[in-house]
């Protein structure tokens, strides 16, 4: 441990402190861009978003414009969305289906495999002008695990499955809700900004310690709707005793026995009496396919997963994919989607989406208070020069494998990985 570290991790004294400079410094952000976002696997999209040949989505990933598409042969690809001629965005639409992408500036045309097909006035170029070498540039690495597609700007990055380590099982638990193992991103995107450092949202997404205070109105809403919100054991802050998990490589999760409702498959009063037989059928299908133990694992636990550094998959009131990128040290852009099994009936899909809004999103019953908390933190961090350290030692008086969801052991997993990538000191 060096005094020059951003993270002071002292297991003997059970103390874990974060230098608040990491949330406010433009220099730290610039180093993160190179040491974290350019080195890790970064979530780009779900295969279902480009389900058919020619389907495409454009999005900004780690400050690059990315064209995420499925080529005519059915292979998913991700290109840097920048014309090889002068650099204009080649595809300017948010989403669609295309056979070709024509740059609006001088009309260079690329196909869905990225090949440069036509250049207007090609006879004005010399003999060494080679269209074969002027295709859209593919991202250095693209891979998927169960249709979650990740890219990396580091050609030498380890393979995705090794990188994902224990996070794979948590993506399995999500995907196994579909009888065919096929999940789909549901139409409708929540895109919003938060005036806070991006790492605060990593922490917040898996921080169950804040629920009783920050989300008191959500707890009341659940209680008013007929959910038993009393702790089942003394000493708990929430109804059930959950765990904070270290999944390796900086990935982490909370893993909690369900106490409210889940679209697959735990009934709660908000779903209405008439949903009961349908939900029982969903559970029967799970048990028949996965066996009792795995079905219980899928259907009776709520899991908030962080895939380092910036993918969150929350599987609770509904399943949400959430990703976010810093725009400056004190600001981020968040994108969130709902995910559901492709086989869902119209009624099941409607229930999933309704359940989503009980908690999540800019108009939900809980997310707005998360955003408020993060923005208040960011404002408070204006005092970082005088009030230098944040404390994240909660639960250090317990062994690593006994960390509760309301402890901070899993948050320390993120910070240790972050610190490792950023180097020992400043």
């Amino acid at each position: 441990m060096s005094d020059a570290s951003y993270v002071l991790d002292d297991r003997e004294r059970m103390s874990f402190s974060l230098d608040r400079e990491v949330f406010v410094s433009p220099e730290v952000l610039e180093r993160e861009r190179r040491a974290v976002f350019d080195k890790c696997w970064i979530y780009v999209g779900h295969g279902s978003e480009v389900a058919e040949p020619g389907d495409f989505r454009t999005r900004d990933i780690a400050d690059r414009p990315i064209l995420f598409c499925r080529d005519r042969a059915g292979e998913v690809r991700a290109f840097l969305n920048s014309c090889r001629h002068r650099g204009a965005l080649t595809c300017t639409k948010r989403e669609g289906n295309a056979r070709l992408f024509q740059c609006m500036y001088h009309g260079w045309v690329y196909d869905t495999e990225g090949k440069l097909r036509t250049v207007p006035g090609e006879d004005a170029y010399g003999p060494h002008f080679d269209k074969e070498k002027l295709g859209l540039v593919a991202v250095p690495r693209l891979a998927h695990y169960r249709d979650f597609f990740f890219l990396s700007f580091d050609p030498a990055v380890e393979d995705l499955e090794t990188y994902l380590a224990g996070a794979k099982d948590y993506l399995d638990l999500v995907t196994e809700q579909s009888p065919s193992g096929r999940m789909q991103v549901i139409s409708g995107t929540q895109e919003y900004e938060i005036a806070a450092n991006w790492k605060l949202l990593v922490e917040n997404s898996v921080d169950d310690y804040h629920l009783p205070t920050a989300h008191l109105t959500w707890l009341n809403y659940m209680k008013n709707s007929g959910v038993d919100m009393k702790p089942r054991e003394t000493g708990l802050l929430l109804p059930t005793k959950g765990a904070g998990k270290d999944l390796g490589n900086g990935h982490l999760a909370t893993d909690n026995p369900n106490y409210r409702g889940r679209p697959v498959a735990g009934w709660m009063p908000i779903y209405g009496e008439d949903a009961k037989p349908d939900m029982a059928a969903l559970r029967e299908e799970l048990v028949a396919r996965l066996g009792q133990a795995r079905a219980t694992r899928v259907a009776d636990t709520n899991r908030n997963l962080v895939v380092f550094p910036n993918l969150v998959v929350n599987d609770g009131s509904s399943v949400t994919i959430r990703t976010f990128f810093p725009t400056d040290a004190g600001h981020m852009k968040v994108t969130a989607w709902a995910l559901g099994p492709v086989e869902e009936s119209a009624a099941q899909r409607a229930r999933r989406l309704d359940s989503f809004l009980t908690f999540y999103g800019p108009g939900g019953f809980a997310t707005p208070d998360d955003v408020a908390a993060l923005e208040l933190v960011q404002r408070g961090l204006g005092a970082w020069r005088e009030v230098r350290w944040s404390d994240s030692s909660r639960g250090m008086n317990r062994p690593d494998d006994e960390q509760l969801n309301t402890d901070e052991g899993h948050l320390r997993v993120f910070w240790r990985r972050w610190s490792g990538l950023m180097g020992a000191g400043r």
Partner: protein, 168 residues
């Protein structure tokens, strides 16, 4: 201030405007229980996502899709001092224009209007929510009630508007 009364047999645009301005006054002054009184017993409130404004909340992820039960809970929540996103409460001022009656069927009146809602909070930049309202109003005796209230945001993404923690 009291709810405007209908006088004629036919609901006119002026009646609708009076009603919308009254509603705006209740919302801007945080008289939310009185505002709930403007709703029918089966009212609903929708804010579609910016990228799919014409979608159906049953197959598309909305920003807000409340039935009357959740709408009452929403009002309870945002009045609660523990609703941190509205503590201190947003100061809002809404401008409503381009009001049109788009359909009339029995006691049900379809209405479209444009809006700008300016929203201010201490320590935050002013936020301008711009868009259009789609109402289904019901005539009940001498008064109008809101059966459906749909808020279509003009922005391509919620972006810097951040949250919809008050009634838009």
């Amino acid at each position: 201030m009291s709810a405007p009364q209908l006088t004629g047999a036919r609901v006119s645009r002026a009646d609708v405007e009076d009603f919308l301005y009254y509603e705006a006054e209740l919302l801007d002054s945080w008289q939310l229980d009185a505002w709930l009184g403007l709703l029918t017993e089966d009212a609903c409130y929708y804010v579609p996502p910016n990228d799919k404004p014409d979608a159906d909340h049953r197959d598309t992820l909305f920003l807000v899709a409340d039935n009357i039960a959740r709408l009452r809970e929403r009002v309870k929540r945002i009045k609660d001092p523990n609703c941190h996103a509205e503590q201190p409460r947003s100061r809002t001022r809404r401008m409503i224009s381009n009001v049109r009656i788009t359909s009339t069927s029995g006691d049900t009146i379809g209405v479209a209007a444009n809006f700008v809602v300016y929203r201010f909070r201490r320590g935050e930049a002013a936020r301008d929510y711009v868009g259009s309202y789609r109402y289904m109003l019901k005539r009940q005796g001498d008064s109008l009630k809101i059966a459906e209230r749909r808020v279509l945001l003009a922005a391509e993404e919620l972006g810097a508007l951040g949250l919809i923690s008050f009634i838009l």
